[in-house]
Symmetry: C2
Amino acid sequence: MKDYIKIDEWRIIEEGFDPHVHKISESIFSLGNGRMGQRANFEEAYSGETLQGNYVAGVYYPDKTRVGWWKNGYPEYFAKVLNAANWVGIDIQLDGEQLDLAKCEVSDFRRELNMKEGYLKRNFKAKTSSGKEVEVETTRFCSMADDETGAIKYKITSVNFSGIIAITPSIDGDVRNQDSNYDEKFWDEVSKATWADGGYVQMRTKKTGFDVATGMKFNITVDRQPVSNIPKPATKDKYVAATVNVQVQGGQSITIFKYAANLSSQNHPADQLADLTKATLERVAAKGFDTMLAEQAAAWAKKWEHNDIIIEGDISAQQAIRFNIFQLNQTYTGEDDRLNIGPKGFTGEKYGGSTYWDTEAYCVPFYLSTAPQQVTRNLLLYRYKQLGKAIENAKLLGFDNGAALYPMVTMDGTECHNEWEITFEEIHRNGAIAFAIYNYVRYTGDEAYLGDYGLEVLLGIARFWSQRITWSGDRQQYVMLGVTGPNEYENNVNNNWYTSTIAVWCMQYALEVANKMQAADKAKYDALMAKIGFDTDREVARFKDIIAKMYYPYDEQQQIFLQQDGYLDKEQILVKDLPATQRPINQKWSWDRILRSCFIKQADVLQGIYFFEDRYDIDTIRRNFDFYEPRTVHESSLSPCVHAILAAKLGDEKRAYEFYLRTSRLDLDDYNNDTEDGCHITSMAGTWMSVVEGFGGMRVRDGKLSFQPFLPGKWASFSFHIGFRGITIKVTVSKSGVTVKNLSGTDIALLIYGKEQSVKAGVEEVFGH
Amino acid sequence: MKDYIKIDEWRIIEEGFDPHVHKISESIFSLGNGRMGQRANFEEAYSGETLQGNYVAGVYYPDKTRVGWWKNGYPEYFAKVLNAANWVGIDIQLDGEQLDLAKCEVSDFRRELNMKEGYLKRNFKAKTSSGKEVEVETTRFCSMADDETGAIKYKITSVNFSGIIAITPSIDGDVRNQDSNYDEKFWDEVSKATWADGGYVQMRTKKTGFDVATGMKFNITVDRQPVSNIPKPATKDKYVAATVNVQVQGGQSITIFKYAANLSSQNHPADQLADLTKATLERVAAKGFDTMLAEQAAAWAKKWEHNDIIIEGDISAQQAIRFNIFQLNQTYTGEDDRLNIGPKGFTGEKYGGSTYWDTEAYCVPFYLSTAPQQVTRNLLLYRYKQLGKAIENAKLLGFDNGAALYPMVTMDGTECHNEWEITFEEIHRNGAIAFAIYNYVRYTGDEAYLGDYGLEVLLGIARFWSQRITWSGDRQQYVMLGVTGPNEYENNVNNNWYTSTIAVWCMQYALEVANKMQAADKAKYDALMAKIGFDTDREVARFKDIIAKMYYPYDEQQQIFLQQDGYLDKEQILVKDLPATQRPINQKWSWDRILRSCFIKQADVLQGIYFFEDRYDIDTIRRNFDFYEPRTVHESSLSPCVHAILAAKLGDEKRAYEFYLRTSRLDLDDYNNDTEDGCHITSMAGTWMSVVEGFGGMRVRDGKLSFQPFLPGKWASFSFHIGFRGITIKVTVSKSGVTVKNLSGTDIALLIYGKEQSVKAGVEEVFGH
């Protein structure tokens, strides 16, 4: 745990230069616009510890899988997001001496991420070893308004020396992934060029053949006057640069405006990338830095209007929740249904930038409420388009007849993970993907989605479950053997309650949707059944038989759902009785000891209760919560939010707040000592859920929003913006009650503490507790 | 499956050169003498497919572990046997044209492994692309009589050309392991020298610092006359050679005698290796090739006298069983308690040449009966000396108080394996190690071993089990959770019957031995208890409580021991109903499908019944055999022998023979298409067991040998030599009955078909069936 980020409502601030936290800051101060992103690497050269990272959404590389022991069914390749060309570089030489903060005396260092307007600013004074002093201020952003571009304003002032400052803006494509399995480089150069005031490099990924052209255009002023010195171009493999020498006197400032463009063959013809990049650069340079920055602020203002959460009385919490919302918006804008949400977004390489069940289970609720409906729909379509590969994946494992097993980790629909206990067994992901369809339709009312896309996915998934579930002659019930639930501290268990529950629900929901569609549009229904070769009689009978005769482990004595067969055979020790020296167990214990213990990484049963809470009475929820929570170590960043929401539901406001605290500043305070690898983007959505579904008690009931809010004791009030079926409301929870402001032109009916209420268009209503 | 090896009683013969089977032959025709060994690589250069392999027993390298996903508790390093300097090389140039069978027209190729006398012979005619024809005959061996040496006689005859034959014998230490995880080379050169008629290279392993000096001394004759030409030395990194040019006419023969020595710092001071190597070479060269070969034949004759199995009426079976005995004797001679038996012996790199539970479960019975008692005792001492590391290993996994978990795979006592389901869970190996102590004492009567060494190991193991077994509050019984049994097609199961059974047996046996020792030698007992800090009251009480209240899964309906909790929840399909296209399932099915199926790699429950057969009545054995055998795919080479022995016990002679057949020619006929990696040395001991314990029905009962033989229908008779407590007998089973010949000077009492019999010293007795 670190504590160096300054508290501010709208800004993330670091003061003073500490190389030991630099990699953490590179993650925290990351920038992105959904299309591209980058870690907060310095513009000027830096020879200290750094993780260089520039990423282009959707551009990935299938790295050859590395395992110790191969198991049949492992994927040959592991698709990972690529470290792409670095466009931020601006090398500075002071009379031939390189400006490098690792080698200078640094003072007045300050880094600021302005979340309101979406830019990164950095200031410092540096004194080189020969005593030259300069002052630097640099501002940069990835444009939200023009998402193939970014810009940097880099101002350097001589404090005490007169001489030549050599300025070298560059595009450096000679990068590698830190996580490259065989130290390979993943890019080949296609072409490059330098111009009088810039240049570009076009590169192509090996194997996948994505082309990306990254270009720059720059101009330089001294004391606001353009510099006419002719830049001296330089090129190397995958690298273009240009050096401008400027004579300065003490007190004089040079400002470099560097415009960058990143164009990919996903969006443009590969053979036009070079020209288009140049044209894009000219367009944005003509606009100028200040205009681009103003557009950036406007784009972010529009985002915040729809998804800001305002917390009064707790600036630290205010900063944290905005940081989470900011990063989620930087990561995924929902405009492209080929993209998804990597667990680290654009903030690092870890987890390969790939898609996990995190998207459906944690991010979908966030985007449903804070972004246009189309955004979540695109997340659903992403999976729809990968249905064929999910069917292939299931075939590889021995299933047939259109059974679909979505991959645990993927970029393009093929499986990327290779721990057998996860790849082959953590199949509950299929359930979350089905649940997201249900959740989307419940929230948006977009029933048409089901007929057009949803049912086909649901049936593929239901077919998988119907084959994966087998008949136990011994029990005379259906069982599901050899699975790993969301609690990854158990592997290869039989009859995991969560997985069995969501599997059977998938079959029920698929049948329900199929019946509805058959009734609504028989021709369309028949066409789909023909397309997928669905044997209605036989397959429906099988689904129904499983639904009727499924076995779910249950403990009669304690009246709780049992996480899996045999869970009560374990020594039942509570987390509170674990010495602090033993935690986190995933660092302190052998894997073997973790597996044999009763300790839970994230509680499966509670995850299931969260998804299907309407099925269970409050006593059932309480009994299960009281049993599982004390055994849960929350060593997944996805764990606490579900506990916060259930604690809130059970009226335990104190603990709901405690669970919320565990993730709210996870990255800002580097709780798990791993922020340097990147930020926990997907768990940020969980933090949002803790506030809105936990403290706000928001649910959808019969097509209406319902709220059951409480105010955490430390806070004066909190408000959140929610979009729902075309209406935006702002809900404020304060000591005096619940205020709902209808920001749209349509009246809205909703439930507040279980009572039907309505708020007219443009009106604000206050409801007592 | 291949079928190219010619049938012969005493020889393994390959006729005709087929490069496609060359790597298989390199394995099959391997040579070894317990101290060193080598694959049957060609002496002359060969540019075709080959796996070069020379190995020095006990010289290993801790290769950095490669895994896809690290789990806490994995070993940092994986000790593997090293590919060592190649001393067989004799490069031949014919007027500058290299003799290379990959580039010649080859005829009359013949390879012969003479198992009776322990040498490898090869003949061929080769015609180079320019038309030069030569005939070669080469004989080589690793000396059993002088186990740091080997010798080669390489005779080359010009058929049709006159010119210069350049002969270059070499020592080439610039080798690498094919299985090197990071393509590293593992040796550094220490020193080297060339002499007029030879040279040596001394190398040191990285990290482990073993020094090995490998030297050669050669002489050359033409038509039996010594050649006086002065050799031209050549050196490269880790390489010495000398070239002799000899002018020949068509029909003339050159013979190269090459003597080799391999001396290791395990056995000599590192700084004297060079001198000692030279002295050794001079000693053996003075003896000469023919004398060495005669010594070799004599050493092997002595081995065969003690361990030959003679099968009449089935030459193929005769060849196969001798091949197994031959390879086991080449691999391990039992003279050095630092050595053990790698699953591939000296025939390949696979499995890292490390020690597995194979040694205790399969090889110990073989060596007990076929070698002096000291040999097995040394195998036991190997583990005794690694007890400290086994305790460290258990600590790493969270155990304490002297609990010992022996590694799954090891060279020096540290764990080398890194699949969590095996490394951490396949803990039954601990049981086999305890059982081997019991088996040794039962066989030899050497009770003193227990007091001196055995009990300390037994208590370390018992302590491990007493911590690994936990109390189930739910069951009110002790349970063992999260294990993998010998059936590796199940992972992380609860209450594996075999593991629980052997674990509790270990505690019982440890207590029994402790009591006996306390009664026999209280002072020694007390000293041991003090040394290991054994809390007699508390620990014994814990052992006894577990013994009394252990849970073993059992199916009441079928009255069988259940392999593990939940086994009957699986779909019960029999192997006979599996289409041939689906087998072997370990190649045809995903790991996931294998795990979820009921199919068994090798039957755990039957392994337990084999170990503890006296506990079970014949009906119990039959019920379990009849249940498990039809579900067993025997995809471990260690599986069929146990089935053969139990089938024999159940009187099912036909099936006993069928099981025997599955392993008897496993490598000779390359059943599993993997002999090119090396031979299945440890399963060869299982084949021996099938014959002696299966067909011979040999057991030890109350300190006496007991036989219950039958004669496989295809055979006219079979005999085997057995050593037992200083007495050697030859047992012959033929249609006319069981003949026991007492080859020693002491009378022996034994049981034949359950009847007490005795055979006087030097006498042969015949007993009817």
